[in-house]
Amino acid sequence: MTALATLPPAQFKSELKPIWCPGCGDYGVVQAIYRALSAIGRPPHEIAFISGIGCSSRIPGYTTAYGFNTVHGRALPIAQGLKLANPDLLVLVAGGDGDGFSIGGGHVPHAIRRNLDLTYIVMDNQVYGLTKGQLSPTSPKGLKTVTSAYGSLESPINPLLQVLSCGAGFVAQSTPADMPGLAAVIEEAIRYPGFSFVNVQSPCVTFGEEDQQVKAHKGRMQSLASKGHDPADYLKALELATHYGVELYTGVFYRNPNPPATYDAQVRERQAELQKTAVPRERILEMFQKG
């Protein structure tokens, strides 16, 4: 049997009491994160948890890690700056579907192409929770919400396909209906050396649809492992991702078998190389000297 975790999950739980609606899927997500962090074993002060704004973005405050609850849609840039300032940190980024794929959507492809060693967890409830049930970029077409009284006219974004097509090295999906699976993919995502993405279908009990609740998920979810999917198979991963919104696949869609060097690792290399050529800071102006 496995060795005892030196840091039990409870070590990662803060004193702050969540104010999510009872029954919200995000309660499960935070528990899964406690478990994953316990398995990883880094102490809380070496972990920084950055989020945007939304119900889901409250999550850092419920952990004992350093947290930064930033502004709507901007968690990824702030996390990247932090990671470059201190590459030794374990940096988690989290937020909602609106935070990540609507207002912050412009940052996603760039975070992926830069490939810093970050783990981005989106709690995808297909709705705007915090602002009371408006249409989200992942809401199914035709959904009636307070901002789409007669049904939405636009098609949803497919976060899995988008992130895969941008070249993310690790892409997974899960749901709090499968707690062990959820904790496991989050742990695996953290262990992946590079940008990793976990789409959590995290039900909104207050504004979400019936078929998006935990009970419904339990009936619908299918693990990719049980379907015999090989996470090294990129093309198959793309194909499976096209079923987003129809099928609820859980587990790892894609894990790059040959992870390229991360941005932060390359920054370190460059710093080490160029530091040899530095003139002392106090003499920086000498380069402008004439004559």
């Binding site: 049997m1 496995t2 005892l4 975790a5 039990p8 999950p9 409870a10 009491k17 969540p18 104010i19 999510w20 609606c21 009872p22 029954g23 919200c24 899927g25 309660y27 499960g28 528990q31 478990r35 316990s38 398995a39 915090l130 602002t131 009371k132 049930g133 709090p176 707690m179 062990p180 904790a183 039900p203 009990v205 207050t206 504004f207 609740q213 935990v214 009970k215």
Partner: protein
């Protein structure tokens, strides 16, 4: 309800007892979370019931823990919470703002049934006689708990007519 990395066939009595302790601990912690959620969301009656369950599960846990220590002293534990998920603990999504005591009891009933099923399903795999005896005992206890919850359910006030619900709209932030 799930387990990870447990081999029931060669489970020792020490590990079995430790697992039982952890199962009660998990249930206790979950009830505490649900109680806190409901306290934060002005659902006091159901919260009171969940608090009661916290105490009940803690009593079970400490009884089992005592037995474990009588038999095995401070021998290190080799099973962890990561190996079990929601065995006797109610599911995360069982709580609802404004839920009735009835609904809370029903949630509890579902988890007692889950726990019973867990031991019932594990038993055929178990080889060790002492572990078998322990698991049968625990399975039967879960039946006992179910009867207790049923009694509470019978005594509980009926579900209020949902048509009376006139709660304020959820708040936008």
């Amino acid at each position: 309800m799930a387990t990870q990395g447990i081999n029931f066939q060669n489970l020792s009595l020490k590990d079995a007892l430790d697992l039982a302790v952890l199962i009660e601990e998990e249930a206790r912690d979950r009830y505490l979370e649900l109680a806190e959620q409901l306290e934060t969301h002005h659902t006091p009656e159901a919260a009171v019931f969940f608090r009661k369950m916290v105490r009940v599960e803690e009593i079970h846990r400490s009884q089992l823990d005592k037995r474990r220590h009588e038999l095995f002293g401070d021998m290190p534990m080799t099973v962890t919470r990561a190996m079990i998920f929601d065995i006797e603990a109610p599911e995360y999504d069982e709580a609802r703002a404004d839920m009735s005591v009835q609904a809370a009891l029903q949630a509890s009933m579902r988890s007692e049934k889950k726990a019973h099923d867990f031991f019932a399903r594990a038993l055929p795999e178990v080889r060790d006689e002492a572990v078998k005896a322990l698991f049968s005992e625990l399975r039967d206890e879960e039946l006992e708990h179910q009867r207790w919850v049923q009694l509470e359910l019978d005594r509980a006030p009926g579900e209020p007519n949902p048509a009376f619900d006139d709660s304020d709209e959820p708040v936008a932030l």
